[in-house]
Symmetry: C2
Subunit: 220 residues, 2 copies
DNA sequence: GACTCTATCGACACTATGTCGATAGAGTCA
DNA sequence: TGACTCTATCGACATAGTGTCGATAGAGTC
């Protein structure tokens, strides 16, 4: 939606230099990929499909991207930007109203997953074979885990949350749970938590894991 | 280890009838597959690799199995049997000593994952493209989830665990967490919980989610 | 010795990937 | 204006994998 290949020369995810006309084609490929990913899995999309969708021949595709994975990585860069923008801000609310803070975090995660469902599913798929995609995923996880770890430590420091296992390890487990529960719910592979309840279920698990009660308050 | 293709005519996972000599070859293929899966991913193993490993030509492979996925499914059948055997029994201990019960459940899950790491990783991979493998995975999940749901409901019924969200939904979330945390720990893709701590971390999350305390007792 | 069934493979058709070399055209400049 | 460069393009090829068809060797009846 907000992709702009002209601003920076962009760190060479396959594309040569950047000059006028070619950017349109690059965008055509990305748009085609995004559209096709909403219909079928990455492995079921051939490079020929992407090329045809963008109105070019298969060899020409390679002028713009090194591979299918390179296209996905560029799509993932957009996601990174949007998430980066959405994530900042809410951190102060933790002090005032912890339950509300965590609910908003989880709801935001849910929204992110829902919005980018098809591209994220493709990232999971491609992660099995592409080291670069795997890298993107672990960087992304690291960001959420770090945020969670800091929040848990802050709550323990002010006495709202009791001590317990290493905060980082809990953060890893809770975020892993989010990933796979939301993935199942949104892609519809059973058994899954119904979409209407998923945030509340996750919230229950997060709160009890962190506070050892489902109703923590700001009163230390 | 305990595979026996002769006992039952086996429900046609690709193999024709069952007669003397061919069973050896079928087993050769399975052994080759299991061995190669410990070195590399399913997508990096060609049917030719399996055929050569079993000392036959590629067309002959198709005499024994419909596809690579069919081989994997037969490998997964072994896993099912072993897990089925390991899982029974422990259920009574829940009344006496809940913490011990859950710790043993989680430790058993950890062991299962560790023992069958390579085959289970292949199942995750193949699940993206094969409906049958996906089916196997969801059946397997269903078993664990049902067990967990029953245990949670039992604890709530006798008053050891407080009421809370639908037991089945919690069971789905907790089992999903297990899957993905153990997967990361055992395959080593960071960020992951260290192998030495993983059972205790999961235990903490399970106990607090179910009991809202990290130290539940049998005293109602 | 004719007949059947298992097990085997060579050869083919198909699909997808990735590369090489030729080339058309737009922009530069001497 | 013509020589020169760079982007963008594609046809044709090489390669690797999958799945099928038809032929056939041999073991076991009868």
């Amino acid at each position: 939606m907000t992709y702009d290949g002209t601003a920076t020369p962009r760190s060479s995810r396959g594309r040569r230099a950047s000059r006028p006309t070619g950017d349109d084609r690059e965008l055509d490929i990305l748009t085609t990929a995004a559209k096709l990913l909403q219909e079928r899995a990455l492995s079921e999309i051939s490079i020929d499909d992407l090329a045809r969708g963008a109105g070019i021949s298969r060899p020409t595709f390679y002028f713009y991207f090194r591979s299918k994975d390179a296209v996905l990585l560029t799509l993932l860069d957009r996601v990174t930007e949007e998430i980066g923008a959405a994530v900042t801000g809410t951190f102060d609310r933790l002090r005032e109203d912890p339950v509300r803070y965590w609910r908003e975090c989880l709801a935001a995660t849910h929204t992110t997953f829902a919005t980018h469902r098809s591209v994220l599913a493709a990232a999971v798929e491609a992660g099995r074979t592409s080291a670069e995609v795997r890298r993107w995923r672990s960087d992304m996880k690291e960001i959420w885990i770090t945020r969670t770890t800091l929040a848990i430590e802050a709550e323990r420091a002010r006495g709202t949350a009791p001590p317990g296992p290493r905060a980082r390890d809990l953060a890893i487990a809770l975020n892993a749970m989010n990933d796979s529960v939301l993935y199942a719910t949104l892609t519809g592979d059973e058994p899954a938590v119904p979409a209407s309840d998923v945030v509340e279920i996750l919230l229950h698990t997060w709160l009890t894991t962190i506070y050892q009660t489902a109703r923590p308050t700001s009163a230390a």
